[in-house]
Subunit: 325 residues, 2 copies
Amino acid sequence: MFLGDAPDQLAAKTATGIVHWRRDWCLGQLQLPSCKADLGLPGMSVSEAAAAGCRTLVIGVANRGGVIPETWIPTLVNALEAGMDVAAGLHQRVADIDDIAGAAAANGRQLFDVRHPTQTFSVGSGERRPGKRLLTVGTDCSVGKMYTALAIGHELQSRNAKADFRATGQTGIFIAGGGVSVDAVVADFISGATEWLTPANEPDHWDLVEGQGSLFHPSYAGVTMGLVHGAQPDALIVCHEPTRSHMRGLPHQPLPDVQDCIDGHVAAARLTNPDAVCLGVAVNTSALSSDDERRRCLSEIEQRTGLPAVDPVIDGVAALVAKMV
Amino acid sequence: MFLGDAPDQLAAKTATGIVHWRRDWCLGQLQLPSCKADLGLPGMSVSEAAAAGCRTLVIGVANRGGVIPETWIPTLVNALEAGMDVAAGLHQRVADIDDIAGAAAANGRQLFDVRHPTQTFSVGSGERRPGKRLLTVGTDCSVGKMYTALAIGHELQSRNAKADFRATGQTGIFIAGGGVSVDAVVADFISGATEWLTPANEPDHWDLVEGQGSLFHPSYAGVTMGLVHGAQPDALIVCHEPTRSHMRGLPHQPLPDVQDCIDGHVAAARLTNPDAVCLGVAVNTSALSSDDERRRCLSEIEQRTGLPAVDPVIDGVAALVAKMV
């Protein structure tokens, strides 16, 4: 897990997600000197990683805009020279960087740019199709949409319900081994790519669709909108981080109210699924200092919204799944 | 103007727009046998066009999905062999078709794929910037958003106001000689590309931003959302075609009510510009059979919305511009 110079733990959320859901695949972490993220894995240099049997260096850090800084390149080249493949999920392709492409070719190694769809899509049709779908949405980016969808998928599968997690971002794709990074498709095809990812299915089958961005985030709301329309969700879960003072990356932009966020996403979803409802709120309470504070936060959200509110990491998602079956 | 096998007049809206706004640039039209569109230009074969002095064959027809059918290729190759350049604004690049790229190279001609941005963009910031902006939005695709923005730009310029038309689609780019086809940028950068296209300006300068799609169109609402947020419009004009029975291309999808369309777009716009208002409704009444019917339609919309409603082609846009200055 290459963490680069991640300015905070959230910047390494790709690595964090992979380690959480695929711990047995991960042998170590590699941090550059100014890195502020830590996965709790053994720290390794490139040569130590190669000696430990690492077969792939995964770029587990995402920066705004998805560009690969110059300072990362020597480490990535070293990894290829040490016999590892390199996998990335950024907007900029590692395969487009001459030094990296050259080192991969010279050493017979592979480059995986999982954010870049290799197939073409049709524009979305909005036509109703069988099968049930749940989409996680949020008051902001990086509030637990992928985690919540994965946790609900596991809970359903543990009850022997028919369920598939559908990854829409790089971390989810690394975890699931497939999916479409909807923020990287051409804008006209956002909803079409989502329809492709969540096709017609058995009437009692659930797709658990990983959400992206927020309809209230000025940078990414277009992606969210196409994803909402393409997923045709029967059910929405709104994800929220209660201590966030502004939208991620935008100090001038306040967070929406949770109820406004529910109303906005449900209204958008009803364009393609008139029966769409919000089933509950998934709250990341990790930044709250006491269990009392955590309980009070969840209880307030439940009272204001009339919906169950849980922290999926602490409480699990049984209270949400109870409304699905 | 190459019209291919356009199934109806609307499919040739790129050609129609160029001919309307740049009539003196257009010498003739070329239709394949099954073509149902007609621009009223002299019909020409490739050799007649070359003899008449045509220097560029413009693909003036757009089909759903933006793919170039096999049946068009011989004509495009002939044009290149006859000494013409080829310009297109489809999702599929003419430069990516081997026979066309080969003919261009062999004959020293140029290929222009205007839909494909050649620059890279940042993600949108949503930060307020000086200058005034008007965005045309709509109850559907193909209801007059580009025409209305161009007409308002002309009206403002005729009053010596500072104004620029900002093209966001292929037809507008052909007319303006520049712009960004926002439906062709990578999804994460829709609002960022729009911010780039409509930068900070003098406080009394108006950008007239061409809208795309509709927040109520399941295929394209993601593009519309990013465009609304990136443009940060002070003013919106809702464009409408009153005889449309369903969203273009989607027989199962009803059109939104005009007032719901105003409310939805204003609410979205206020995320990045809390002062956004809708100034009026631009109605394409060309399918109404009598002047009485036309007047009644506009009057009903004015009564229901409390806003001026005009047909820009028949009435002009002075009633809308009166609310801007």
